[in-house]
Symmetry: C2
């Protein structure tokens, strides 16, 4: 039988031994980074990006062994199967074709024998036309005024990726439209958005594959009532992005336009579909969105075709597994030295933790310990002044630094201590990775730096759409490759189901209480009842509280 998960390959035990060997003092990172040509030998370039992993806890022997996983687990072959439309999401019997969303050229991509590219091209054309018409003022709201605000109603995969990209590319917006996000069902989210927009010039983009997501439904109802209260026709202020035939694609409930999404593109992988495409085309113009797609497509090809030693996302995935499952680190930080990438970590948190936080393998057998790792991060240098104390002297965790070689905003040229702001930023990026790796021993334990803290650095040339597209696809491919190595299905998310089932039950009890003031929530667990009573004004100890809502 061919292996499909790391811990069943013949290379697993030898890898664990290599990881043990790296714990020896002579393999401290301080020593490794001093080996000849370390930087050249542990960095690769491709797709206009550079991946430096010279400060990972790897030497030639460990790396050689790690790279054999490509063959042992047929990693690129499985990636190819994904791109070709094979139904690798086995639990849901679905193809996984986010790569098709940015495929150009004439090659068909078939699912169940049917080429999916024509419908993808159709949606792209629709986005191009619609965004141009809105941006030019040809399509207006119900009072005839051009749109100035776009509110994206969507949560999780219908929100985080688009937020990452719109933040990364904000400087390129001509500011014709302002983008707002309404994700959380918390009424504070709605209230803050309502206070920031002008209803007459606001377009609401409702994004939900099933169109039954509880949060998105609640916010859509709220928005519709808000529009009606302002004398506006919701049908002329709303577009939907949803599956064909969903309640959001119902001629009985007319909207300006409906853009289709497809069951072969999962939420957290959907930024390059209409989920990201509608808001990003409106904000930036369709051409910039397409440049972003081209970057993602280029990285897809690289991820599929580059041999392991030259393959950026594949090496990043192998390092992630090395750190997590072999060296035993429980977290990873993503620290972009670029403010516009502030929303990258929240996006990758979803992308990676929802994809790979799994306790069953692709055949349904247990994984012990479970796959996945906690990912968090904030931009540098901010993070240095926040949690880097712990990174340097507390529990170590691997870091993925990101540098951008050429900044925007070159008109601001003031220098401080002889350097530009960008040069100061760069100096800090380089200094942190070095300090973490090398450390600096001291007799004074409060000033002792143990070092041996691993990091990689990814360098982008600039923050043009093509590079943001490459970066998005890099993290998608890294995540997919990690899932292949762990042998899991990175495309389902059954772990979120139980919470939904329990929330459904609680919602029904609350709804009943809304109409029956004497209803005490029926038969249920004590703690849950305590919280429902608290919501309706009675403390855990039976005291009556004033009810203000």
């Amino acid at each position: 039988m061919t292996s499909f998960r790391l811990d069943q390959t013949t290379v697993h035990q030898p890898l664990l031994q290599e990881a043990q060997r790296m714990q020896r003092p002579e393999n401290h990172l301080r020593r490794l980074i001093e080996t000849p040509d370390r930087l050249k030998r542990y960095s690769i370039e491709g797709c206009g990006m550079l991946l430096d992993y010279s400060r990972q806890r790897l030497d030639d022997a460990a790396r050689r062994l790690l790279f054999t996983l490509e063959d042992a687990l047929r990693l690129r072959q499985r990636f190819g199967a994904m791109c070709a439309g094979e139904k690798i999401n086995v639990t849901e019997n679905r193809a996984v074709l986010h790569t098709a969303a940015r495929a150009f050229g004439d090659d068909p991509i078939r699912v169940d024998g049917r080429d999916v590219m024509p419908e993808i091209r159709r949606v792209r054309d629709q986005m191009k036309q619609f965004s141009e018409q809105v941006r030019s003022g040809a399509i207006t709201g119900s009072t005839g005024k051009p749109f100035r605000h776009v509110v994206v109603i969507g949560i999780g995969g219908s929100y985080l990726g688009t937020e990452f990209v719109s933040t990364a590319l904000a400087a390129l917006s001509d500011r014709r439209l302002t983008l707002h996000y309404l994700a959380n069902v918390d009424i504070h989210n709605f209230g803050a958005v309502a206070a920031a927009i002008d209803p007459e010039t606001t377009l609401w983009v409702v994004i939900s594959k099933s169109y039954t997501t509880a949060e998105t439904s609640a916010n859509t109802h709220q928005a519709e009532q808000f529009m009606r209260d302002k004398g506006l026709d919701p049908a002329r202020h709303t577009v939907t992005v949803t599956s064909k035939g969903s309640p959001g694609d119902d001629p009985a409930r007319p909207v300006l336009q409906t853009f289709h999404m497809f069951d072969f593109i999962g939420g957290r992988y959907s930024v390059t579909s209409a989920v990201g495409g509608v808001p990003l085309s409106l904000l930036l113009g369709y051409d910039r969105f397409e440049a972003f797609l081209l970057g993602a497509a280029e990285m897809d090809r690289h991820a599929l075709e580059a041999p392991v030693a030259k393959n950026l996302p594949l090496i990043a995935a192998l390092i992630s597994i090395w750190n997590t499952s072999l060296l035993g680190y429980g977290q990873q930080a993503i620290i972009p030295y670029a403010s516009p990438l502030a929303k990258l970590a929240p996006h990758v948190q979803q992308l990676n933790m929802e994809s790979n936080g799994k306790a069953a393998d692709i055949q349904g057998d247990s994984l012990e310990p479970p796959a996945g790792v906690v990912i968090f991060g904030e931009p540098g240098t901010n993070a240095q002044h926040s949690f880097f104390q712990l990174a340097h002297q507390g529990h170590p965790f691997p870091i993925e630094f990101i540098g951008v070689r050429t900044p925007q905003y070159t008109q601001y040229t003031a220098r401080s201590k002889g350097v530009t702001n960008h040069q100061e930023l760069w100096a800090n990026l380089v200094a942190q990775a070095n300090a973490l790796a090398a450390g600096r021993p001291s007799e004074d334990r409060t000033r002792h730096f143990e070092g041996n803290r691993p990091s990689s650095t990814l360098v982008l040339e600039d923050l043009q759409p093509i590079n943001v597209g490459r970066l998005l696809s890099f993290y998608e491919a890294r995540t997919v490759y990690e899932g292949f190595i762990w042998g899991i299905n990175s495309f389902d998310q059954f772990g979120v189901e139980l919470g939904k089932v329990l929330a459904d039950d609680l919602r029904m009890r609350i709804a009943r209480r809304n109409s029956e003031p004497d209803y005490d929530f029926g038969d249920m667990d004590d703690i849950g009842r305590g919280y429902l009573r608290l919501l309706f004004g009675e403390s855990f100890r039976g005291r009556v509280l004033s009810v203000k809502f």
Copy 2:
């Protein structure tokens, strides 16, 4: 000798045994939460807040033992010494008096025999007057227009706490002024702020205790050049918050006003000083800032006076230590079911990880393993649609949920499935904690929920300033108590020094290259040189790149 750190107390071994005992199947959380009166017996109320720890992996025996740490480590006595001005920051020979920043009443608080309260009151009065004069238009910019934008230039402790509070209370702003943050030295941060403001109506608040922070200096220089380019007089558009006698408090460099900060209040504990006070008073009006201070002061008293079994931050600290050092969890998540608390986790990341990410105890001896824990978080329900897959089925980590009983924005009343948005939010909060604790076993491993994932829930009545003040102080006191238990100094941050030293060196090399184009960075490590060459347009492999900056 009295013990001052957990692992040197006589109770440490018994606690480890209790933690072992909790691993047994009969102590699964599913069982614990079904014990009689679990909610009442494992929740406390105080300071208008409720802390429910019924879903922590504790039973009566374990809790009893954990509570003995209060006596064994004299925790409240040490907290009292802190509040009384004792120099518990021993490495820097400083008092730790953030509690004095919100002390009202007439009692003196002495450091080296000198009462610090008069100067604290003076700064408060100054903030009150200044904020009223700016808000009323009595103080204007250099062209006579009233201020409409405030840009806070500051990083780390001069930024994150204020950002948390201003986000939490944003709904209370009368929108006379818009607040912007310029923290990162990244020129993208400056560029984005510059594009969002109107220079003539912008007040810059420069916050730095030493006034030598590299990022803040660079951004201040950038801002001053920007103002001069617009024909404005920086002196009439700038206030400083800094130590007496720092370069930011120099009559030779006039500004509108200077507000003093004191060496007995550390950056990450400084939100209730002028660091938070100046921007928050400008945004919200001084009275709301004072209400926030009163809430913080109330929680300070509670933290000091309430016996352990009734003490919210002390119990939260004990639970944090229980989970981290005894049960062995490597992360904690903070998940507020309230969008306005979106910036709480980044604030607590700094507060807690910078305070307690330490490898030396208060006497300078090694701590192995190091103290501290990784903290991360996003608001719920957003987090459910992001990384909760991993929380439910991947590596478990403890969670601190936060609920708000009464929302703002009660004017939006649309219901979905019979409930308001706030009720939907509440149902999810309750459902998640239950699902994580109880789980739901299944033969199908992809749908198996192991449960036994601990959480606490903190409930606030609403998001008025008093409650946000209580919440701020709760996390400060929790952090301080954790540090006392680990036996570390939570008030220094030598772990950030090495990175600064290395960055200083790199900056000097870059500055020299700026003036000497042939300079190849002198004697330095290969990797560092590779990055400096890259910045100036040469790839790691010697190829010349186009230089665009």
